[in-house]
């Protein structure tokens, strides 16, 4: 019996990332059980809400990815149920999940953010897609990144190298979200920095360098073991490594995040970290970046998560 009481790990949900969330949940539950924590692995459904209202768990670890899990809605439900949980509160989750708003907030905090524009499908339809896309290309240059303004796992994300690729990139993007983010492409080293706060303030775990076999770190590269090479810590000089770690801690603070987050950056040839996004429910699968960072710091994933649960339990 653990001092945490009954822990519920929430995984699944109805977002496009359900499969990944189930894998994250299953791994985390196993890691925590190995440490003697009493864990229930539950889907975020009506049965959970009914059960939690009647017999509330002592603390919840939400591991739903994508919409619902990261847009603040599930966390609002947890607040309504007056449950203690690990991770960002609803408003901060909503802020981080909305890439254009998060970019603005993080830029104000002094981080470098690649220039980007966000537009809904209706604007393209009403004002003419050709003219708007031509303007975007003139301003941002090629290649450019097209991605859903809200969402994760690179779903609906394309790197457009030629104008002829743009229409299908837009259609692919709008299949996942109502708004599209068109962003200047920054070439360089892709680095993910996880941040944890177990009560003594946010600290960055070692930056993870991502080297996919293919052209970019897409869904296949993320979740096929062997398709991407990782370096922990990233092969950066100490000053740059420190700068990217500090940038992640700044993003965590600027967005008002809590307990844990993972921020993704491109470090360009001049060693400048460019902020891409922050995640409030980072993946915990066998190929995910947060567990790699934890391992790189010499800790066990279960121990770190237990510390986060203890911290949340005390709130």
């Amino acid at each position: 019996m653990s001092d945490l009481g009954r822990v519920v790990v929430l995984a699944g949900g109805l977002s496009h990332e359900r499969d990944i969330s189930l894998r994250s949940g299953s791994r985390v539950a196993e890691e925590l059980r190995d440490l003697g924590v009493t864990v229930e692995l539950r889907d975020a459904d009506a049965a959970f809400v009914r059960g939690a209202a009647e017999d509330p768990p002592d603390v919840v670890l939400p591991l739903l990815h994508g919409s619902q899990g990261e847009d603040g809605s599930l966390r609002t439900v947890l607040e309504m149920l007056q449950l203690r949980y690990v991770g960002a509160e609803p408003a901060a989750s909503r802020l981080a999940f909305d890439k254009p708003t998060a970019n603005t907030v993080v830029a104000r905090a002094g981080l470098n953010v690649p220039e980007a524009w966000v537009l809904p499908h209706s604007t393209f339809r009403d004002l003419g897609a050709d003219a708007l896309l031509s303007s975007a290309m003139r301003a941002l240059g090629l290649p450019l990144v097209v991605q859903p303004a809200r969402g994760g796992s690179a779903l609906g994300c394309s790197i457009v190298h030629d104008v002829s690729e743009l229409p299908s990139a837009m259609v692919g993007c709008f299949a996942y979200a109502e708004d599209a983010l068109l962003q200047r492409y920054v070439s360089g080293m892709e680095v993910a920095v996880s941040v944890i706060d177990t009560g003594d303030g946010p600290v960055a775990l070692p930056p993870v360098e991502i080297v996919p076999d293919g052209p970019f770190y897409d869904y296949q590269a993320r979740y096929t073991a062997g398709a991407t090479e990782f370096f922990v810590p990233a092969r950066l000089d100490p000053a740059t490594r420190e700068a990217v770690a500090a940038a992640a801690v700044s993003a965590h603070g600027a967005l008002g995040l809590r307990d844990l987050s993972r921020s993704d950056f491109i470090v360009d040839a001049d060693g400048i970290p460019w902020f891409l996004e922050s995640n409030v429910a980072p993946g915990m699968t066998e190929t995910s970046l947060f567990p790699l960072a934890v391992a790189g710091s010499g800790q066990r994933l279960g121990e770190v998560l237990r510390a986060l649960l203890v911290h949340a339990h005390r709130r």
């Binding site: 699944g12 109805l14 977002s15 496009h16 990332e17 359900r18 499969d19 990944i20 189930l22 459904d45 499908h121 393209f124 339809r125 897609a129 796992s153 779903l155 609906g156 229409p167 299908s168 990139a169 837009m170 259609v171 692919g172 709008f174 299949a175 996942y176 600290v203 960055a204 775990l205 070692p206 080297v211 869904y219 296949q220 993320r222 979740y223 096929t224 073991a225 062997g226 398709a227 991407t228 090479e229 990782f230 370096f231 922990v232 810590p233 100490p238 490594r241 420190e242 770690a245 500090a246 801690v249 066998e286 190929t287 790699l292 391992a295 790189g296 710091s297 010499g298 800790q299």
Partner: protein, 445 residues
């Protein structure tokens, strides 16, 4: 990383200074695993299993209409009375009594086989795997219909076959296209090893080969010395008249007939079979023994008892009526709700309707939007190995109730309307990576 770096915790363990691929075996896999990667389309089907989603994707039979109490008693009695046999290893070729019964089942489609030429397999999927294993070397050509069953394409891909699609129309495989495909293979020095065909209530196209077509295909196969692999999971599930006569009924040699109890009884038992010419059967048995030693004895005996003690053909009739009602519900809903420019066929049996969307739409690109709107289908590209099928999708009516089917089609129609709006704005989109779409078995969704 030096200890005490501001903003970073001190390292207490060994770091991954040299790159890790998180897979120690990455350089050791066989070439045939190259296509075995994570797929975002496959991942979407995890959502389809939730009750909030109307899944028109899966090919799951409605086993709720089976006499479960009777089957429960039958299984219990089987273990009690014949457990020594049912829980023991068995023959690699399959239980002799069941093989006799299988020959009786095949008589319903005009096939008169000998029990010695039947090999019981773990579903007909394993029969397909074994046939491919004994005939296909990497690079060998297999002819299949366009479109074809996704599970067969996966099997052929896993043996590194070159899959060549042959056109179909509403009457089935087009004979002239078949002749051309055979000639093409011979000219290229890669004559087809066999033709894989699903003549009855085709998966996914819902088409049934006419009698005339069957005769012509058979003639072509004989003239060209082409082996035919006839897959017949749905033959007894026609909605009108007598079951269509199998191709194998008119030719003893030159056809391997694959059958299954998955649709007429229960897929969970995984009992199927191959009826093959004598010499082929010998090799199939050896291949089966190498793969699984023997098919599960308990499941074989359960099927055998069921066939013996229950009116199984009466149960097939129950299934037929149930699926006919659902087919009608789906066709009515499609007719009423799907936008102009869409068209579909009217299956006379089986599980599936093949829908073609208005010009410019891409069913695979549209799937995430459909899942957001809580409806799922299988994109047409899953049924081609060459990237075709973009405008098409397979809808199944075998599992959801008529009310759910109607609701699913209503949601789908909304998704199609939204996608049309998108395509009007940006023009047609084409995703680049088409071939080898990594889908789960459709029966799982």
């Amino acid at each position: 990383m030096s200890a005490g770096t501001p903003g970073l915790p001190e390292h207490r363990g060994r770091s991954l200074r040299y790159g890790s691929r998180l897979d120690s075996y990455v350089d050791r896999y066989a070439e045939r695993t190259l296509g075995m990667t994570a797929s975002q389309i496959r991942a979407l089907f995890a959502v389809a299993s939730r009750p909030e989603v109307v899944s028109l994707a899966g090919g799951m039979p409605t086993i709720a209409s089976l006499p479960l109490d009777i089957i429960g008693d039958l299984m219990a009695d089987l273990v009690r009375r014949d457990g020594q046999h049912a829980l023991q290893y068995g023959s690699g070729q399959g239980d002799p009594r069941l093989r006799e019964q299988i020959t009786e089942v095949m008589q319903t489609v005009g096939v008169h086989g000998h029990p010695d030429d039947v090999v019981v397999t773990v579903g007909s999927q394993q029969a397909l795997d074994l046939v491919t294993r004994i005939f296909i070397d990497p690079g060998d050509t297999v002819l299949v219909e366009a479109p074809s069953y996704v599970g067969a394409l996966s099997t052929f891909r896993s043996y590194q076959a070159a899959v060549h699609h042959v056109a179909m129309d509403e009457h089935g495989l087009i004979p002239e296209a078949l002749r051309e495909a055979i000639r093409f293979g011979k000219r290229a020095g890669t004559p087809a090893k066999f033709l894989y065909t699903i003549p009855n209530y085709h998966n996914p196209a819902g088409v049934t080969q006419t009698v005339g077509r069957r005769e012509e295909i058979l003639r072509i196969a004989q003239v060209e010395d082409l082996l035919v692999v006839e897959d017949d999971p749905y033959g007894l599930l026609g909605f009108d008249g007598e079951p269509p006569r199998a191709i194998r009924a008119d030719l003893d040699d030159g056809v391997i007939y694959l059958g299954t109890f998955s649709k007429t009884f229960a897929p969970g038992l995984r009992v199927g079979w191959a009826l093959a010419p004598h010499a082929v059967r010998e090799k199939l048995v050896l291949a089966a023994e190498a793969a699984v030693l023997c098919p599960p004895a308990l499941n074989q005996l359960a099927v055998s008892r069921y066939l013996e003690s229950y009116d199984w053909l009466g149960q097939v009739k129950v299934f037929r009526e149930l699926y006919r009602e659902r087919r009608d519900a789906m066709l009515d809903a499609l007719d009423e709700l799907l936008p102009d420019g869409s068209h579909w066929n009217r299956p006379e049996g089986g599980f599936y309707v093949w829908v073609t969307l208005p010009e410019g739409l891409d069913s695979q690109a549209m799937l995430p939007r459909a899942v957001t709107d809580r409806v799922a289908y299988v994109p047409g590209t899953a049924f081609y190995s060459d990237g075709f099928g973009t405008r098409s999708m397979r809808l199944s009516y075998c599992f959801p109730t008529p009310e759910r089917i109607r609701e699913g089609v209503r949601r789908l129609a909304g998704v199609v309307e939204q996608e049309l709006d998108l395509v009007r704005t940006f023009g047609p989109g084409h995703l680049s990576d088409r071939a080898g779409l990594g889908l789960p078995s459709p029966d799982l969704t």
